[in-house]
């Protein structure tokens, strides 16, 4: 019973995703690229960098990168916390 429910849910999600993939816009032809064209056109003037990807990562969407660094920091702290040396009264 439980397994059947999971299977139905899985098939449903799979069909959903494939439906999405087939009804996307054609590959290789972004329909709205105003934001990205702005990045490509203005990276050299505004950020004075040649690499548009780095300009997006650290300038236009720098806050995302701060969040990303935070995620990595959280994972490191989490792993260190799990593998920390326990005091004897805790084990």
């Amino acid at each position: 019973m439980r397994k059947a429910v999971i299977l139905v849910a899985f098939l449903f999600v799979g069909a959903f995703l494939l439906l999405a993939a087939t009804s996307m816009r054609p590959f290789g032809e972004p329909s709205f690229a105003d934001m990205d064209d702005y990045f490509i056109a203005n990276t050299q003037v505004e950020v004075a960098a040649n690499n548009a990807v780095t300009a997006v990562v650290f300038d236009y969407r720098g806050f995302d990168t701060l969040g990303e660094a935070t995620v990595l920091f959280a994972a490191v702290v989490g792993v260190l916390a799990l593998f920390r040396k326990l005091r004897e009264d805790e084990v």
Binding site: I40, A41, Q44, V45, E46, V47, A48, A49, N50, N51, V53, T54, A55, V57, F58, D59, G62, F63, T65, L66, E68, A69, T70, L72, F73, A75, V76, V79, L80, F83
Partner: protein
């Protein structure tokens, strides 16, 4: 089992280790000019550490790479990144204050930026806070991943011997 792998692996590691480090730092430093950046370069450097760890074993690197030191360095990297975000808070958080300001610290413009789009050989001393952020993130990523790898390897080894 803690002594690492065969002599062939260890010799190759000694050769490749330095090269990997140099390449990683190159990727970090040239992030604003060529493909790459702090995250990618940091991962390359961390892979060099991981290589050491695999080849020499956890015991072999004891004392050379200590995860307390790595953790401290990671926090410094993270704080530096956050501080670089605060630099521009007079205008808005994360405002790139140094870009094109003409200052000595990465303040140059890319050559003839008025004639866009233009390919050029690249100016190293440009990009404002970008290269600084690349360094901060690079430091953070290389030490963070190295710390995770070391701690997990030592922890998992304990598992096997118990």
């Amino acid at each position: 089992m803690n002594t690492g792998m065969s002599i062939i692996v260890r010799t190759i590691t000694r050769l490749v280790y330095g090269l990997t480090l140099v390449f990683g730092f190159y990727v970090i430093m040239h992030g604003h000019l060529t493909p790459g950046g702090g995250f990618q370069g940091g991962a390359v450097v961390a892979s060099a550490f991981a290589l050491l760890l695999v080849a020499f074993g956890a015991a072999g690197i004891k004392g050379r790479l200590n995860h307390h030191l790595l953790q401290t360095l990671e926090e410094i990297g993270a704080l530096a990144f956050l501080a670089l975000g605060f630099v521009g808070i007079g205008t808005a958080f994360f405002y790139n204050l140094l870009a094109g300001s003409g200052s000595l610290l990465f303040g140059q413009l890319v050559a003839d930026a008025q004639l866009l789009p233009l390919s050029n050989p690249g100016v190293f001393n440009a990009g404002g806070t970008l290269p600084l952020m690349n360094w901060a993130v690079g430091l953070k990523v290389m030490t963070g991943i190295a710390a995770v790898v070391i701690v997990m390897l030592i922890g998992a080894r304990k598992e096997e011997t118990e």
